[in-house]
């Protein structure tokens, strides 16, 4: 088993929580894991990415080689495209459809979605709307994790447990809304594939 995952977004959008959830689940499943993240300069509203590698064998490189990623998980549509050189031909791209516009030359959303739809395996969901329906506008990142979960080779319950653990210190309410967000994202994604 091997899952090479690229997480993409803009600084402050919560991709490190996605990474931490998958990381906790991987450890619970006794998988080997390397997860490289970007800190520092690029967090000020710049693009951020994380390489997450899960395997049942030891992982060598902290970085995923080009063309070898099984999955791109993006919380922002334009950012999902930035990492196409890493996506394998069989890989999936799961992205939020809501743009984060903090640059003057942000391209037209319709054009971006058109590019995403050219990718053979893609899932586009409106994570912000689903997050709101689940009770917390701020859990869009966890909705996206849910939407990507069918492509991660670990039992879904282990991701649920990871979310419980990750948000445990913030109280039951936050745990519940995030679990709802996770499940809603997953259902939406499964629905889109049928």
């Amino acid at each position: 088993m091997k899952n090479d995952i690229i997480l993409a977004g803009v600084g402050g959008q919560g991709i490190l929580s996605i990474a931490a959830s998958i990381g906790l689940a991987a450890v619970a499943n006794d998988l080997f894991l390397k997860q490289s993240e970007v800190h520092g300069m690029s967090q000020r509203g710049g693009d951020v990415q994380s390489h997450l590698r899960l395997s049942d064998k030891p992982v060598s490189s902290d970085l995923i080689p080009y063309g070898k990623a099984d999955l791109i998980i993006s919380v922002e549509p334009m950012e999902s495209l930035r990492y196409l050189p890493w996506l394998s031909d069989k890989g999936w791209l799961v992205t939020n459809s809501n743009p984060f516009i903090n640059i003057p030359d942000y391209p037209s959303l319709a054009e971006i979605l058109k590019e995403i739809k050219k990718i053979k395996n893609h899932i586009i969901i409106d994570a912000d709307v689903i997050a709101k329906e689940s009770g917390s506008a701020r859990s869009g990142n966890i909705v996206i994790l849910g939407a990507a979960s069918p492509f991660i080779d670990m039992p879904f319950t282990s991701l649920e447990n990871a979310v419980r653990k990750l948000f445990g210190s913030k109280g039951d309410h936050i745990v519940d809304t995030n679990l709802k967000a996770l499940n809603a994202g997953r259902e939406c994604s499964i629905g889109l594939r049928i």
Partner: protein
């Protein structure tokens, strides 16, 4: 066995705590910051009363750590690579004094300059100072090496350099922990003159440093981290340093059996193993993260030995960090590639946060300086350096911590008027204060704007030594109180702030304008606080 999911930085921090650390000293700097942060938030440190306050700069950090070592206890210092330039005097001389309690200096290099102004390779410093240097290739190794680094430090009475790079510092993996060791007891050096580098004493100490550096090479605490593995074929031998090994292994997988491989993760270089691999192979490929340190040593000036591939002949790019693709190409393996990035994808550079005081300060500065034309503003390192980018385009320098003040002095000496410096609060106490003293003593005609957001923002909002002290520091240094001004950088104060700045530009002496407004990130975090993450996975 207990396991934790840790960043490379955190693995080093945890190991130091488990190895009986008594004092951690650091100034923030990407990618090293999380070492101190881990120690500050760890329960182990509060249980065992480990000293763990930020220092004003890397030099004060290393000297405090040396004092801890003098008293017989284990100390660690962490900094980004350029911090070692600031700390170099203490570092190099600590090799000559030697240590008492174990002393580890972690220097985190940033090849490809993800968040830095250069990509210098700290291994040069190891050789320069004649101290042993470790360069772990993964998180587990980083953890384990710290124990041996303390041991070798005490055995040879030498500080130890611990060189890491961005990809290890900021990559997480699971790490097996060892049982913790107790802290050392207070015990002073046996020789009361050990730390007195008078020339007559230093000469003798330097001689013994030179000879002990040679014997280090063969000490098992070093040599166990340099391993040779033979291959089925003898055409191409591979030498990797540090994390370069991972990219090599990623590419060759099981066919590693075809290559003789020397994996180096500790220095001084294992001369015998290098002779061994070069003696049995036709050609050698050297993979190093950072500068071609080993490669230059091997080629020498004559470069007339075995055929060597590496960074110096273009097999590997001369600069920048390694990655799996670069290494694949160097070995001659086919490259994989996904799809090209569609042309509509735009760059998304970092920018000032909404509600950042620096931004409002710069807007006032832009209007105030306009009549004098461009080219008057020296700046420094921090979030405020973003004013070099559009739409501000207002600063003309960013060189090293504190250089805004001193470059403004020199340019003013040369006749530039007005000569303006913009410096952050943490950078000011790091290295700006001494420059301010120079300005006061010679009464330079400079205007120094201290953009005080009450935090060390760029590196994630660590406590700033300057907070609440800037006024007094400036007064104490001797700034004329009439030209020590305070402004609040808010849009509503814009015209007032422009006036204050213009007045001070026209003053022919030292002016300091303190622009104070709390960083929006730390302010928000302070309001929200209490969201710690539990990463214990035992």
């Amino acid at each position: 066995m207990k396991k934790l999911l840790l960043l490379g930085d955190e693995a080093i921090a945890k190991a130091a705590l488990d190895a009986g650390l008594s004092g951690m000293y650091a100034y923030p700097g990407t990618p090293s910051t999380e070492i101190m942060e881990y120690i500050q938030s760890s329960e182990d440190s509060s249980d065992h009363k480990v000293h763990r306050e930020w220092s004003s700069n890397e030099k004060t950090a290393i000297e405090a750590a040396l004092g801890m070592s003098y008293a017989g206890k284990r100390a660690m210092v962490a900094m980004k690579h350029v911090g070692l330039n600031v700390a170099a005097d203490g570092f190099i001389n600590s090799a000559i004094t030697g240590v008492n309690g174990g002393l580890i200096i972690v220097s985190a290099d940033d090849p490809s300059m993800h968040s830095s102004q250069n990509e210098q390779d700290s291994r040069f410093y190891g050789k320069f100072a004649f101290v042993p240097c470790f360069e772990p290739s993964n998180q587990q190794e980083a953890y384990d090496m710290v124990f041996d680094a303390f041991e070798i430090s005490e055995k040879y009475k030498s500080p130890v350099l611990f060189r890491i790079t961005t990809r290890l510092a900021h990559s997480r993996a699971s790490v097996n922990l060892r049982p913790g060791l107790p802290q050392k007891e207070l015990s002073l050096p046996v020789d009361p003159l050990q730390f007195v580098l008078l020339p007559a004493i230093a000469r003798g100490k330097y001689k013994s440093l030179l000879s002990s550096y040679e014997s280090l090479r063969y000490d098992s605490l070093i040599s166990k981290y340099n391993n040779f593995k033979d291959g089925n074929k003898r055409d191409l031998g591979i030498i990797t340093c540090g994390i370069a090994y991972n990219y090599f292994l990623e590419n060759v997988g099981d066919s590693i059996d075809n290559f003789p491989v020397l994996k180096i993760t500790a220095y001084p270089f294992p001369k015998d193993l290098i002779k061994h691999i070069t003696g049995r192979c036709k050609e050698i490929l050297i993979l190093e993260e950072g500068a071609p340190v080993l490669e230059e040593a091997l080629r020498g000036i004559l470069d007339d030995g075995i055929k060597i591939y590496g960074r110096l002949d273009g097999t590997v790019p001369r600069d920048g960090e390694l990655n799996p693709a670069i290494v694949a190409k160097a070995i001659g393996l086919p490259l994989s590639y996904g799809q090209a990035v569609p042309s509509l994808v735009k760059m998304r550079p970092p920018s000032f946060c909404n509600g950042c005081g620096h931004a409002d300060m710069f807007n006032s500065l832009i209007d105030a300086i306009k009549p004098y034309g461009s080219g008057h503003v020296f700046s420094d390192i921090g979030c405020y350096t973003l004013a070099a980018l559009p739409p501000y385009n207002i600063i003309n320098s960013c060189v090293d911590m504190g250089a805004s003040v001193t470059m403004a002095i020199g340019a003013s000496d040369a006749g530039l008027f007005p000569s303006v410096a913009v410096i952050g609060d943490s950078t000011f106490t790091h290295s700006g204060m001494t420059g301010l003293l120079d300005a006061v003593v010679k009464n330079s005609s400079v205007t120094i704007i201290i953009s005080d957001n009450s935090t060390t923002g760029m590196t994630g909002g660590q406590k700033s030594q300057a907070t609440g002290r800037i006024q007094q520091i400036c007064k104490g240094i001797g700034v004329n109180p009439d030209h020590l001004r305070s402004i609040v950088p808010l849009r509503k104060n814009h015209s007032e702030n422009v006036c204050t700045l213009k007045e001070e530009f026209e003053y022919k002496g030292v002016s300091v304008v303190i622009a104070s407004r709390e960083c929006i990130q730390t302010a928000t975090r302070r309001k929200r606080s209490g969201n710690s993450m539990n990463n214990s996975i035992s």
